[in-house]
Amino acid sequence: MIELLGLLLIFMIIGAIIAVETRDLLASVICVGAVGFGASIAFLLLRAPDVAIIQIVVEVLVLVILIRATISRDLTAISGDREFFGMVVAIVLLFVVFLFGMRVFEHLPPFGQPAIETLAQSPARVYIESGLRDTGAANLVTSVLLDYRAYDTLGEATVLFTAILGALAILRKKARKRKEDREEE
């Protein structure tokens, strides 16, 4: 199980490197799709079926949006990276970030031991033990989303609405003010 997950993660890392490094933008978007569907399978292996389903749906939408942005636009791919010195500095700094991250992982419990086991009064324990009785939902993820933390979900819907509204406002062709100006003229 852990080996399978490791292989999947290595596949995702290779896909991510190709997506970042390849010249063709369309190939890059397709590689992001491979990474996203790999993440979906990983969620399924980690016993998170709801997250896997939502990951597939979101992945398809992200691919549609990205292909809409890239296709028939700028097919002459941009060649060349930043200057050599900047690249070296960036890689050294990323290595430092990686080392610090590894130090952080030493303080975490090992893989396969969630916080419910170590903390006696973790909120997740309350959700698991009384979720079915309190909310009547068999799926504990939905009981957390739509009952215990329903205000979070309301905030999520607000953020999503604002983001889509912002995207539509940015993509609108003509501003309303300009139209009024034309009428005055």
């Binding site: 890392i13 992001v32 939408l61 990323l94 995207a167």
Partner: protein, 115 residues
């Protein structure tokens, strides 16, 4: 070990954000970083030989708490994934407007045309 691979995926995305000149490449790198963080949070809630957090009428709740994976990170990651979709749509919309304004996706070209 798995945490380290997850961090490596995150660092690959960070590398793309820092070094690439194409705006679409930067958006793609941000999406990859989001995947890495989501995967890491789900991994934190995983239990060895655990079952999905879907409870049965017949199983006892206290016993179920010994075998189930943590449902809380799953609920929060569900929220985070959907918000990621909205943020990606907004970023791509901004990229399309930048392309219409400057005729290129290259960020260094955009800096020259400022004003």
């Amino acid at each position: 070990m798995l945490y380290a691979l997850c961090l490596l995926l995150f660092v690959v995305g960070l590398y793309g954000v820092v070094t690439k000149k194409n705006v679409i490449k930067i958006v793609i790198s941000l999406v990859i970083m989001g995947y890495a963080v989501n995967l890491f949070l789900i991994m934190l809630g995983y239990r060895e030989k655990g079952v999905a957090p879907i409870i049965d009428q017949t199983t006892e709740a206290a016993k179920f708490a010994q075998t189930s994976v943590d449902p809380l990170p799953q609920a929060l990651v569900l929220t985070a994934i959907v918000i990621g979709l909205g943020v990606t749509a907004l970023m791509v919309a901004i990229c399309i407007r930048l392309y219409e304004r400057y005729g290129t996706f290259d960020i260094t070209e955009m800096r020259k045309l400022k004003g």
